[in-house]
């Protein structure tokens, strides 16, 4: 099905020996890369490997320092974002660049709207063409007059893709398009990508998720430390060999889960409710147990965590910690009862990015690093240094600003912050979203270790393999309610997936 052989002579884009340095540090080193019409070319590598910089070079955001770039066979010496767009290169970034207050049609045609004879905006034409584009993307359910702010992430992504196509994109760069999507939306997105490939669009697909790569890609290129490790047809690689190419070593266990005998009940939740997203939920968490929480985006998974942690306190129901009923009205209360929360969005709720690692690590446990009203800086630094070592945070030291760390290391800082509070109950919302394979395995190992030490862990995840691989039990949330509880033995992709998708949810769009 790969038309690569036929078109190999005329790639849409060809990079030869491209390099890029920031402040003297070479982040892309002498990379060759090309995309052919009608192929999905996966770009892989750990965070910091240079993927983002490479796609930004192709998109004209960063000028390259060395090497040559050809688009459609013509050499381009000075590539700007405008020039790249003109030559048919479009990017769907991870953080979607849309205007929430404008409608779908306005977003799709922003900057190149069809005009009427007297140079006014041709609204009927704009709406008609948007409709046609969305239909061609298998999205007849998306209304062109809805404000983008009211759409789900998956639908916004479709709008982004429609926008790229409206500009006659011949090369589409997708930067971790599935990082924020639930399983069902991933399937739909992959269908869209396949459709684009059939039309002859060349797609550069950046992702950490191996199953997607094997499903979609025709060829895969791996970068490590800014250098090209290799470009291979997908048939010539395996999951093991790809991971080895990325991290430069073998990772033997993808999900290092050890069998445990859960201890006494740490947390019991009875008939917990908050608004429409947490409805009458009851479950128990035992010592040493990893409890997976699965559900589609918007099913109420995250809201359950927010309610347990006191960010949106429960309107009714009971929470018992170690058998005693407690009231959790704020994160402070939750912390006092030994509950910790590693949030879904580390930038928003996890970290103060301009602060140092030490300052972030001590933030939830300031009372441990102070004497009277004064901070004990030596103690704070010592604790942060110990956490860096124990968790394996790759940083220059406790004084480094967290904004400079990679996603995986930032996630470890958030985790370190909460481990400093010595919690009994650890809630982790998407613990490995957007972080690379190596760091992911380390976080999983850490979770296993913590559970082994007697902590109870609630893990919310959109990645079914992660839920199945790491959980002792799986709770499935659907439409705010707990619809199924599955033991490790009975939880399979089919059983969990069926419970997640059961009873179709209504969506705003």
């Amino acid at each position: 099905m790969t038309p690569g052989g036929r078109d190999a002579a005329s790639p849409l884009i060809r990079l030869k020996g491209v390099s890029k340095a920031f402040a003297g540090i070479r982040v892309v080193k002498d990379v060759d890369f090309d995309v052919r019409p009608g192929e999905v070319h996966a770009l892989m590598g750990e965070n910091g490997a240079g993927k983002s910089t490479l796609i930004k070079i192709i998109a004209g955001v960063h000028p390259h320092d060395g090497g040559t770039i050809e688009i459609g066979g013509e050499p381009v010496s000075h590539l700007t974002p405008r020039e790249a767009r003109r030559r048919g290169v479009a990017v769907v970034y991870q953080e979607l660049l849309l205007f929430p207050e404008l409608t779908v049609a306005e977003n799709v045609f922003l900057g190149h709207a069809p005009r009427t004879g007297w140079r006014g905006l041709d609204w009927p034409e704009m709406r008609r063409r948007t409709r046609a584009l969305l239909d061609s993307l298998d999205s007849p359910d998306l209304d062109v007059d809805t404000k983008v702010g009211a759409l789900s992430v998956a639908n916004r992504q479709r709008v982004e893709i429609a926008k790229a196509l409206s500009q006659d994109a011949r090369v589409l760069i997708m930067d971790e398009p599935t990082a924020a999507l639930a399983e069902a939306d991933v399937v739909r997105l992959m269908a869209v990508v396949k459709r684009l490939r059939e039309r002859g669009v060349g797609i550069i697909y950046v992702s950490h998720r191996l199953p997607e790569i094997f499903e979609l890609a025709d060829r895969v290129t791996v970068l490590r430390d800014g250098a090209l490790i290799g470009t291979r047809p997908i048939g010539e690689v395996t999951a093991q060999s790809l991971v080895a190419m990325m991290v430069g070593r073998e990772i033997d266990h993808l999900y290092p889960k050890s069998e445990i005998a859960p201890g006494e009940t740490l947390l019991e939740v009875r008939n917990l409710s908050h608004g429409r997203k947490v409805r009458d939920i009851s479950f128990a968490l035992r010592r040493g147990e990893i409890l997976g929480v699965a559900g589609l985006v918007g099913s109420g998974r995250t809201e359950l965590a927010l309610t347990l942690f006191g960010i949106t306190p429960a309107s009714s129901g009971e929470i018992l910690v170690s058998g005693k009923p407690v009231r959790i009205g704020s994160p402070r209360d939750a912390r006092a009862h030994g509950i910790a929360y590693v949030p879904e969005d580390r930038g928003l709720q996890g970290l103060v990015k301009p602060m140092t690692i030490a300052q972030n690590v001590s933030m939830a446990s300031l009372e441990r690093v102070r004497r009277g009203i004064m901070m004990r800086f030596a103690e704070e630094t010592r604790r942060a240094a110990a956490a860096i070592k124990a968790i394996g945070i790759r940083a220059r030291g406790p004084g480094q600003v967290v904004g400079q760390l990679s996603g995986g290391n930032q996630q470890k800082v958030v985790l370190a912050k909460w481990l400093e509070t010595a919690p009994q109950i650890l809630i982790m919302d998407e613990p490995t979203r957007g972080i690379d394979v190596g760091a992911k395995a380390e976080i999983h190992q850490l979770m296993t270790k913590l559970a082994g030490e007697g902590m109870g862990i609630i893990m919310i995840s959109s990645e079914l393999p992660e839920v199945l691989g790491m959980s002792d039990r799986v709770l499935v949330i659907n439409n705010g309610q707990l619809v199924r509880t599955l033991e490790r033995g009975e939880a399979t992709a089919e059983s969990v997936g069926a419970a997640m998708a059961d009873a179709r949810r209504e969506e705003a769009a």
Binding site: P331, L348, M355, I373, M375, Q404
Partner: protein, 327 residues
């Protein structure tokens, strides 16, 4: 806090390096002040006459004191545009009490307590009613300014008792306001850097959601910081109102802007989360020195605002650049 703080991470650092780590902006301003003094002194030696130094340091100390509280408010990610009006009102109240025969300590304490009370209200509206601080304080500005003129009709308060005039006292030959400025700055700087409370203020401004999730009571912190700011406004009032034999019961023009500008040029990020009160005090001294220098080198004092405007833009640009680097 941002770019400079990286240097903390490098392995071995001398005590000298550690002492100055995190004070980039402050050192730049200190350098600018010294340079200005040397240049203007070489043009006109009378610039460093005791009389003029008194005007520069003592006459503007109240701005530095008000800027301490303002810096804290800005570090939490808020702002207060009503501080000038508040100081005007508090000065009138203090003067009225002083001429009404109450003991002088009452006249000195009242502005501090009333400043705390007024800003408690502002803080509650900002933190709990979630009205943006710019809106709350714009409202407060109008109320205070309008109320003051309506009540006093713009009359001056004269015949102030001599013992009330704190700013004119000179223990050990140094004007009292200088003790206040230096003492309060050191106290506040120390407290902001070394106390857990100070740390939590930076966290609230740096990322309120993360601070809340970490168990820091951000609403309470914001109210507390506004109250502290009110206390500093009260202290600034005492220095301001006791300089002369009379108190003009009007709002000093542009005072709030001068105070905010001192904070911003002193390195307090207008986006919250970083800056120090040492910087804001140095910046207040820098303006006072520039204003005086313009006169001594024979340039119209109207240029002062233009020069300060340029400084603001340069500082904010530098702050943005630093933030981008830290990303």
């Amino acid at each position: 806090m941002t770019a400079e703080a990286q240097t903390l991470g490098r392995r071995e650092q001398s005590w000298f390096g550690r002492l100055f780590a995190g004070y980039g902006q402050e050192i730049i301003i200190l350098g600018a002040i010294l340079l200005l003094f040397v240049v203007v002194w070489s043009i006109n030696p009378r610039f460093i006459s005791p009389n003029n130094l008194n005007t520069i340091f003592s006459g503007n100390a109240y701005i530095a004191v008000a800027a301490i509280g303002m810096s804290m408010v800005i570090i939490t990610g808020n702002i207060d545009v009503s501080v000038g009006a508040l100081i005007g009102v508090l000065a009138t109240i203090a003067g009225t009490i002083a001429v009404s025969g109450y003991p002088v300590w009452v006249a000195w304490t009242a502005p501090i307590l009333i400043g705390i009370a007024v800003n408690f209200l502002v803080g509650v509206l900002v933190a709990y009613a979630r009205i943006p601080s710019i809106v709350v304080t714009l409202g407060m500005l109008s109320i205070l300014r309008g109320g003051l003129i309506s009540v006093t009709g713009g009359a001056w308060i004269s015949n102030l008792p001599p013992e009330f005039l704190l700013a004119q006292q000179r223990p050990l030959g140094i004007p009292a306001p200088i003790y206040f400025m230096v003492g309060l700055t050191i106290l506040a700087a120390f407290w902001m850097r070394y106390s857990a409370f100070g740390r939590s203020i930076y966290a609230v401004g740096g990322n309120p959601e993360a601070a809340r999730a970490a168990g820091i009571p951000i609403e309470r912190r914001i109210v507390q910081v506004f109250m502290i700011h009110g206390a500093f406004a009260g202290l600034a009032t005492i220095l301001f109102a006791t300089q002369l034999q009379v108190i003009q019961s009007t709002v000093p023009p542009n005072l709030e802007l001068t105070v905010i500008t001192a904070s911003v040029i002193g390195g307090v990020s207008i986006l919250g989360g970083s800056g120090t009160v040492i910087g804001s005090t140095l910046a207040a001294i820098l303006f006072a020195a520039i204003g005086s220098a313009l006169i001594f080198v024979g340039i119209s004092a109207y240029w002062l605002r233009a020069v300060i405007g340029l400084l603001i833009l340069a500082t904010v640009l530098a702050d943005m650049a630093r933030r981008r680097q830290a990303k």
